[in-house]
Subunit: 301 residues, 2 copies
């Protein structure tokens, strides 16, 4: 199974702290490297995490508040300096046609590669044989989306059963693996008889949002839900005013979506590192498997 590696480059919110940068998450899967959000300082964080910026294929921006995308102009320009030639694909919600032209025309630099950009409308944005990336709408008082990485299911060949039926290794195996029926010695053999379907992994990132139904739906049975947890529940009103979530609310969403693990991120600067345990405890009242994201930490699924 391919490694699916998630690196938290920045786990802060609007005002960055020295050890808690503006939001950015790096996903590595197969030949693909994505950024989910790209706050100021992302290019240095990539370097700290020993991740190559040149290998990033796609950037997905959740919304157009500066803390979520102001690392993009510098990242794009540095990749020019380093001689990138491969085009870069950027997705973001409504507003992208207004902001990307400005992002691409900040200062003088030579362009060595193309930057393509499209609006991230709800639904599938990118699809390969191995996975899809989709957007879903979230509630942040400004056009905002969350993102879903969904690995496609794989079929493991049950060799004992295939041998029992006498089906020879070759094109017929390929058909079955792709999920198609075959005819063998006058009988129809379905893939469910001789293969085991392994469900694909699913990672969901909300960006900044109030807790919402769309997240529960998008995160159904996800392996990992990375959810806004800017505040603790004792300042719920502040969370509502600023269209963020409390850790407790993130816990409830994780439980209702039936995810395997919840990662809290997007912490307000009001919480010192040692106080984040309070947010963890709070989310744990709603859901068991909770992790606090910290800058430069990796999760491998």
């Amino acid at each position: 199974m391919q490694d699916l590696e998630i690196t938290f480059l920045g786990t802060g919110s609007a005002v960055p702290l020295p050890n808690r940068g503006h939001p950015s998450i790096h996903l590595r899967y197969s030949g693909y490297r994505f950024l989910w959000d790209c706050g100021e300082g992302t290019q240095v964080q990539l370097r700290r995490a020993k991740l190559s910026s040149l290998k990033i294929s796609h950037v997905f921006i959740t919304h157009w508040h500066g803390d979520h995308f102001l690392g993009l102009p510098g990242l794009i320009q540095s990749m020019n300096l380093e001689g990138r030639t491969k085009s870069l694909v950027v997705f973001g919600p409504k507003g992208i046609d207004e902001f990307m032209p400005r992002i691409l025309e900040l200062g003088y630099y030579d362009k060595t590669y193309e930057v393509e950009y499209w609006e991230a409308k709800p639904g599938i944005l990118w699809e390969t044989e191995e996975f899809t990336v989709s957007a879903f709408p979230v509630e942040h008082g400004t056009p905002a989306v969350g993102y879903v990485f969904q690995e496609k299911p794989k079929r493991k060949m049950l060799e004992d059963k295939l041998r029992e039926l006498g089906i020879p290794r070759g094109p017929l195996w390929g058909e079955l693996q792709r999920g198609n029926e075959i005819e063998w010695e006058g009988k129809i053999i379905g893939p469910e008889q001789v293969t085991l379907e392994i469900p694909g992994r699913k990672i969901v990132y909300t960006g900044d949002t109030r807790p919402c139904e769309a997240t529960i739906e998008a995160a159904k049975d996800a392996d990992l839900l990375i959810h806004d947890a800017t505040f603790s529940h004792d300042v719920l009103e502040r969370a509502k005013e600023t269209w963020h979530s409390t850790a407790r609310e993130a816990g409830r969403i994780a439980r209702e979506a039936g995810v395997k693990q919840l990662v809290l991120t997007g912490f307000s600067k009001r919480y010192k590192d040692e106080e984040l345990v309070k947010l963890w405890e709070e989310a744990r009242k709603e859901f068991d498997n909770v992790v606090i994201a910290r800058d430069l930490e990796k999760v491998v699924l």
Copy 2:
């Protein structure tokens, strides 16, 4: 005497390293706080240096390469979040009327204060009773300036001499301190007879540049010259191609300008921290009093 405090927030060049950020220098003098350049990450560096971004009165950008100004959008937006009301003044060379409107319209945010901006044409840009800030043209293959902070001279009253002449403390002393002649007991008393002129301090920052006459002229007798030293002299051709200086060239400029101290900055990522001593040794062949700038170091004059 007022402290004149210079903090190096970023001492790198085009590609930032974890311990050597994009260029920015903080100057504190009297009630004023300036930034000279504002590369990506400046807002976090200010926080690391325990300097308040809200107190910054002026930002002076040397040129419109991203590494010298891409921290500005985030800094401006964060100051809004923190409730700044005092206007901010930004100077930069030709191009400012094109780039500042884009910088100010990156993403959605509420504006709580005004950002005023003007082109930094050679000559005095800002003058108070205590100092001037001027721009001078440098050579970087793009519109680019350096900046001079010049404290005005002060007159120290020589009390013994004043008593000897019998001039009473009061308005006459004030006239002499402002550098004017007075009449006392039928005689003209010049300020040079009863006061000592203390020359003002002068700090010069080149930004990125080839060594040039304009810097020698601007830096004449400066207390501190902060000069581009991106490369060592063994890659002089590379320095020429990219419109930067070598450490040795910076040393020559310091000598020819007759400055008191030279600070080298703007180092290429090709030099590890421990290799910067090589650049120091090289500059020392031309000029004695050389310092290597490092991120978050302060100089107090």
